[in-house]
């Protein structure tokens, strides 16, 4: 039964993250929501690792953390650079790449 709680929590976190990415304009908030989604996935991985008694999922979660750390570095740098040139952190203002 405990498995279901963890998974439901992970699903709720992932949904909050996804909706946040879709509806929020502030790049930093969008970024945080992505982190939320990644961590909900991490929670799922760890949950299944514990349920099956293997460490594969836990190792995978470490990988995700490392990748997320790297992503934060690059992503924040991009957001900083956009903010410097446009004086705005809104993702809707960075819409030049279109038809």
């Amino acid at each position: 039964m405990t498995l279901t709680y963890y998974l439901v929590l992970a699903a709720i976190l992932f949904t909050i993250g996804a909706v946040g990415v879709l509806v929020r304009r502030n790049a930093i908030v969008v970024f945080m929501c992505i982190e939320l989604m990644l961590n909900s996935v991490n929670l799922t991985l760890v949950t299944f690792a514990r349920a099956t008694g293997t460490v594969d999922g836990q190792i995978m979660a470490f990988f995700v953390m490392v990748v997320a750390a790297a992503e934060v570095v690059v992503g924040l740098a991009i957001i900083m650079s956009i903010y410097r040139t446009r004086r705005s952190a809104s993702v809707d203002d960075a819409n030049l790449l279109k038809y």
């Binding site: 996804a18 990415v21 879709l22 969008v30 993702v91 809707d92 819409n95 279109k98 038809y99």
Partner: protein, 644 residues
């Protein structure tokens, strides 16, 4: 009654030696002249005309020497092998010359009359700034024409054939700033193309069926072909001949070609190039021997053209056009003669040579008259020129008498020979053809007498400010020489040194000298009809005042003749208009159909892609939603597959 029949004995062709081996110089000399004059540019302006004349005179002297050496050769036919022209697969064409009696007489005619006309042109073109270019083209023409008659294969003939066509085009359009000349040149070129397609197809058929295009090979094996194939070759060759010689139904270009300078009309459109068709048919005698059908068509073409030319010649007021229609008509006589078969070849060629002399002389005379009349060609503005231009009058008059067949001058002997040959068929058609020829002789006498009366006699009707003067010696001397030819050529060719003996190696021996109708009777009848024509012309033209403008109210016959029996109208309504409709329809199909499909496809793709492009809004959230939706779809699908 025995009909003249001659077996064509393929005489032994021997390799050329000595002087004859160098007969390629005949072609090379004028060709080099043309090259120097065309490439040399303005630097050669001062002496270009002299060089151009010298090369042709040199070729003439060489031709005389070659003819004498040819007379000493056994069989009188030599082959001058030069080099491999085309060697590809089964097609192996060697470039070589065939110097035989037939080509020898043509070479003498071309270089002889050519030399005289070059000399004349020095005077005629003296004030033209482009005189050098004129001589370059004339030299080019002489070279191509010599290649045409000297080549030893149909391919070599074809090269020369196209060469003279090009030279003719360049020379008709010599004064290319005149719209009339440019149009006439294009007309000549296009109508010649129609004929040339026939000649080319004939050569293709020869190669496809016989595997060879040399005269020797084709004539030796043509008998092995099916009758229909031989007839096809004969008719295709005839189409080529009709185009080049201005014969029905391709006769309309020749009178228009008179837009060129008069020496061009004399050399190309009277004496030499337009007789190439007669040469082609005479040269292809072994082919026509196998196909009576094609030969009959040649006869019909000749007879029809003879009358068309003569009728049209009666109505025109342009002195050169009258002479041009006369040329059309006289070449009709030659076609009629060569269409008669062995009996007529020699008669036709004798008429060709005599015609070369007197018609060139007449054109040079017409040029001299134009020279005196400020380049006017309207005979209604001439009149009374006999006293002002005595030498022109005398030489022109001799040419005139020779052309209408005045007894004992050139045309008398050669035209009578053709009529005799027609009668010697000894059937109803023979009488019809002879009747047509005699009628043509009467019409010839009529239109030529009309021309003489309007030009040289009567009251002077000159335009204001025209002061006729005799041409310089450099122009009158060639006219005098040609008028001597007009007097003597017929007698020399028919009686003194019979052309039939000289041409025996080509056309075989004439067996019978017995005629169906005695030559004396023929001569008397033709002379009688000729005198009737002269009398009619005097009654219609000489007796009354010639109006300065052509009468408008005339009979339908005259109107038809003035329109050259509606040849242009027929060509335009039967060929040109449908051709234009066809091209317009094709353009429409191309624009709407072919282009429409391609353009429609491109426009459809472009429109749909730009519409798709609108979905690329630039908002990251939209893309993220798309990715999410896609991921949900994939996940859902996976779930459905694995659980279901």
């Amino acid at each position: 009654m025995e009909i003249i029949s001659a077996e064509v004995l393929p005489s032994e062709v021997v390799p050329a030696e000595g002087l004859l081996g160098a007969s390629w110089l005949l072609i090379a000399l004028p060709l080099a002249g043309a090259a120097v004059l065309l490439l040399g540019g303005r630097r050669t302006d001062r002496w270009g005309h002299l060089l151009g004349t010298a090369t042709v005179v040199g070729a003439f002297l060489l031709a005389v020497l070659c003819t004498f050496s040819l007379a000493d050769v056994e069989g009188r036919s030599v082959d001058v092998d030069l080099f491999t022209f085309i060697s590809t697969g089964q097609l192996d064409v060697r470039a070589g010359l065939l110097y035989d009696p037939l080509s020898a007489v043509f070479v003498l005619l071309i270089t002889g009359v050519g030399s005289l006309i070059h000399v004349y042109s020095i005077g005629y073109m003296a004030h033209d700034p482009a005189r050098r270019r004129f001589f370059a083209y004339l030299n080019l023409f002489v070279a191509a024409m010599l290649l045409l008659v000297l080549g030893n294969s149909f391919v070599a003939l074809y090269v020369g054939w196209e060469g003279v066509g090009l030279a003719s085009y360049l020379l008709i359009a010599f004064w290319y700033t005149r719209p009339g000349a440019a149009t006439a040149a294009k007309k000549a070129f296009i109508m010649n193309r129609v004929g040339d397609v026939g000649l080319a197809l004939a050569i293709f058929v020869m190669f496809a069926q016989l595997g060879t295009t040399s005269y020797e090979g084709v004539f030796g094996t043509v008998g092995t072909l099916a009758g229909g194939t031989i007839t096809a070759i004969g008719l295709l060759l005839l189409l080529g001949a009709c185009g080049k010689s201005g014969q029905f139904p391709l006769q309309a270009w020749l009178p228009d070609a008179m837009e060129g300078p008069t020496p061009v009309s004399a050399l190309i459109h009277a004496a030499t190039m337009v007789t190439a068709g007669v040469y082609l048919i005479a040269r292809s005698a072994p082919i026509y021997d196998e196909t009576p059908t094609a030969r009959t068509v040649v006869l019909a073409v000749g007879a029809v053209t003879l009358l068309i030319g003569a009728i049209a010649g009666c109505a025109f007021d342009d002195i050169k056009k009258v002479l041009a229609y006369s040329t059309v008509s006289q070449i009709g006589y030659m076609f009629l003669a060569v269409g008669l078969g062995p009996a007529g070849y020699v008669a036709g060629l004798a008429h060709l040579l005599a015609h070369g002399f007197f018609k060139a002389g007449l054109f040079l005379g017409a040029g001299s008259v134009m020279h005196a009349m400020d380049d006017s060609v309207d005979m209604r503005r001439y009149g009374g020129l006999a006293r002002k231009l005595p030498i022109t009058f005398a030489t022109f008059g001799l040419g005139y008498l020779a052309l209408i067949g005045f007894p004992f001058l050139s045309g008398f002997y050669t035209k009578d020979a053709i009529i005799e040959a027609a009668l010697d068929r000894d059937d109803a058609w023979g009488w019809v053809l002879a009747g047509v020829a005699v009628l043509g002789a009467g019409l010839t006498a009529f239109y030529m007498t009309r021309l003489m009366l309007m030009t040289f006699f009567g009251r002077a009707r000159w335009a204001d400010g025209v002061h006729p003067h005799e041409s310089p010696t450099v122009m009158t001397a060639p006219m005098v020489v040609l008028s001597l030819g007009s007097i003597g050529a017929g007698f020399l060719l028919v009686k003194a040194f019979p052309l039939s003996d000289w041409l025996e190696p080509v056309f075989g021996e004439e067996h019978s000298a017995e005629h169906v109708v005695a030559p004396l009777t023929v001569g008397l009848v033709v002379t009688g009809v000729m005198l009737l024509g002269v009398l009619a012309a005097w009654l219609f033209v000489g007796r009354r005042e010639v109006p300065v403008t052509a009468p408008v109210r005339v009979s339908p016959v005259t109107r038809a003749a003035r329109n050259a029996l509606y040849a242009d109208t027929i060509n335009e309504s039967l060929l040109m208009r449908p051709g234009q409709w066809l091209t317009r329809a094709l353009v429409w199909v191309d624009n709407r159909g072919v282009d429409g499909a391609v353009n429609g496809l491109a426009a459809g793709l472009g429109g749909s892609s730009s519409r798709l492009g609108r979905t690329q809004t630039g908002f990251v959230r939209t893309y993220a939603l798309g990715m999410l939706g896609g991921a949900v779809l994939v996940a859902g699908a996976l779930l459905a597959v694995t659980s279901g």
